[in-house]
């Protein structure tokens, strides 16, 4: 009788019993590549739990809410080592977890998405910023909480144009992802009326990122590399591979600010972001993980919070029901960015403000004032619906 009563109360969407019966378990998987990449700055070297630490905090947050809704969230982490089959690992993870947060390179993510399509698992891309995952290679079972390169470049470009720094010297690294970021920057310049006065390529000739001889050579190399440039306002660096970008600030031949991959950097999130109630979330993160948060952590946090938001609104742990709600017109999530975040229904990209940070402070938040849009000003960042090549399937 008591159980029946509790069940009845729990059934109502609006009011849920404080003493819910057996909690519903909602399994969330986290799939990523083992190991971390090297950065030029030691301070920015990612922790081994980069990303998953954010997911863990969101699981805790969801479970605090879950106490009241009779839902329990679990997290299962799987790191793929070199030579391991990503599809096999993903399939095993999907056994117990209806939702998977992925921090994978684009090709691996697509393999996983296609392998899990029949099963109905909902994937969240928390790591890959590649445009093609939202464009020609978009997938109906992948939600993207990571921003795209075009969103990041537009966020930076809007600020530079607002600042009237509209002559850019573009320096591009020699790796594929550097070129992709440079493509995004060129598109931004064309959209917002900035001029790329010249492009230079910084060849990666290999070598260690840290040496005992230190910075003496760099101090001589960087001015020489940037000398004799046409008149420009700001140097924009496209160096996702971490080969030279961080060496540029304060070392350019002409005294000019640096932006892009170093200096003023566009990011979905930063450890210094304390506006819009973020301070409590930052504190919770530090308490749980004994380090400061990164953008990747926040992208994973947002993904897990989206699941929690949908399960509490639908009062259900059913993957299909939750997925439909997330993709429905009423879905939004609060993520300490001063505005509700919603999904672009043409490619399942999360709309979000982008922070411009200098490593110590948030300098600005884009979209900038005056960049208008008929639907959402957040859609002034990245590819908009009419330009999209995505056909969800």
């Amino acid at each position: 009788m008591i159980r029946w009563l509790a069940g009845l109360i729990g059934f109502g969407l609006a009011a849920t019993s404080a003493l819910a019966a057996d909690p519903v378990t909602i399994g969330v998987g986290y799939l990523a590549i083992a190991g971390t990449r090297s950065t030029l700055s030691l301070v920015e070297q990612p922790a081994e739990n980069d990303g998953v630490a954010g997911a863990r905090l969101a699981i805790e947050d969801n479970n605090t809410t879950g106490k009241f809704t009779g839902q329990r969230f679990t997290l299962e982490e799987r790191r793929i080592k070199e030579g391991e089959d990503v599809v096999q690992a993903a399939t095993a993870l999907a056994e117990k977890n209806g939702f998977i947060i992925a921090d994978l390179p684009a090709d691996a993510l697509l393999k996983v998405a296609d392998a899990l399509r029949e099963r109905g698992t909902l994937l969240f891309n928390a790591g890959a910023i590649d445009e093609r995952l939202r464009e020609a290679d978009c997938r109906a079972n992948v939600i993207h909480t990571a921003p795209t390169r075009a969103m990041l470049a537009d966020a930076l470009g809007q600020y530079l144009v607002w600042k009237k720094w509209s002559r850019w010297l573009l320096v591009v690294g020699s790796h594929d992802e550097d070129r992709l970021f440079a493509d995004a920057i060129r598109r931004t310049a064309a959209r917002f009326g900035a001029k790329i006065v010249q492009e230079r390529t910084f060849e990666d000739k290999g070598g260690a990122r840290r040496t005992d001889s230190g910075v003496t050579q760099i101090q001589r190399q960087m001015p020489v590399f940037t000398q004799q440039a046409p008149a420009y306002d700001v140097l924009v660096a496209a160096d996702e591979s971490e080969v030279f970008g961080a060496y540029l600030p304060y070392r350019t031949w002409d005294p000019r600010p640096v932006a892009g991959s170093a200096g003023l950097v566009p990011r979905s999130w930063d450890a210094s972001q304390d506006q819009w109630g973020a301070i409590q979330m930052q504190n919770r993160f530090i308490k749980l993980n004994s380090r400061r948060i990164t953008a990747l952590d926040m992208q994973a946090w947002t993904a897990v919070r989206m699941i929690g938001e949908a399960t509490s609104r639908t009062n259900s742990g059913e993957v299909k029901k939750v997925t439909d709600f997330i993709k429905g017109p009423d879905f939004s999530v609060a993520a300490f960015k001063g505005t509700r975040l919603t999904l672009r229904d043409w490619n399942w990209q999360l709309r979000q403000p982008i922070l411009l940070v200098d490593g110590r402070m948030v300098v600005s938040v884009s979209p900038q004032e005056g960049f208008l849009h008929q639907v959402s000003e957040l859609d002034t960042l990245g590819y908009d619906r009419p330009e999209s090549k995505c056909k969800l399937k």
């Binding site: 809410t65 109630g277 504190n283 609060a334 000003e377």
Partner: protein, 319 residues
Amino acid sequence: MFGAALLAALALAAAPAHAFIAYVSNEKSNTVSVIDTDSWTVTKTIKVGQRPRGIDFTRDGKFVMVAVGDDDTIQVIDAKTQSVVDSLPSGPDPELFAQDAAGKILYVANENDNTVTVIDLEKRARLGDIQVGVEPEGMTISPDGKTLINTSETTNMAHFIDTSSRQIVANVLVDARPRFAEYKHDSSEVWVSSEIGGTVSIIDPKKHEVIGKVTFEIPGLRKEAIQPVGIGMTKDDKTAFVALGPANRIAVVDVASRKVTKYLLVGQRVWHMAFTPDEKHLLTTNGVSNDVSVIDVAAQKVIKTIQVGELPWGVTIAP
């Protein structure tokens, strides 16, 4: 005799509206501005702890309590001397609080550790904690004192707490980032504002169900800029005022039909509000423009703007 009566009547007519004293917390400058509602000027600026936000008079009107979040405490200002005289043992990062009708018990929302702290105001001692959702913020008590309502910003719920047992009796899901809760004076409804959701949910406190929503639409303003926070309701429960944050407006809502009848342009990023006891005026704190707007309640017009400290947040007026 007749002449004296006439004189008295004349004097009465000429006398200004009864003067009240308003206290405004300035989040950024770590001060509280004291405003005289007769002259509408700041008469004193009191230095307080770090990041003052929630602010309220004690029921007897003798003290003003102000939550100084970054100092993890609530400071007590003596209204007579207009200086800080004591502090209360809240939990970490107190933001908003509510007191019972007798003014004996204080309930504090501690944003940092998902709890509501219960404080004995006479002994100024901590009585205990109540576990609630993630980032508790809004607080209100039912007119009969039996139910405390707390809203949690990331859990997106209004928690109904029995004040005698200090147990949660119900949780009601509302729209994203609920920040403020207000009972109707007749206890029939609780209004909860959702900053990110952009709505005010109206809850039946007996059934614990959302029975209606107030929505806002301002031509020429994008939806995301409408972020409801503070709510004020007239004593006759006929009119509600809702602060819309970066929309820079106060919505005037007809309580019966739950429809907005008017938008009043105030300062930038309007947070909270307080009525004068005679309900002739409503004061709103405008965070970004560093001022307080004075609204003539009957005329539903902004009649005055007063410069205060940096980022004004909360306001309370002596009973």
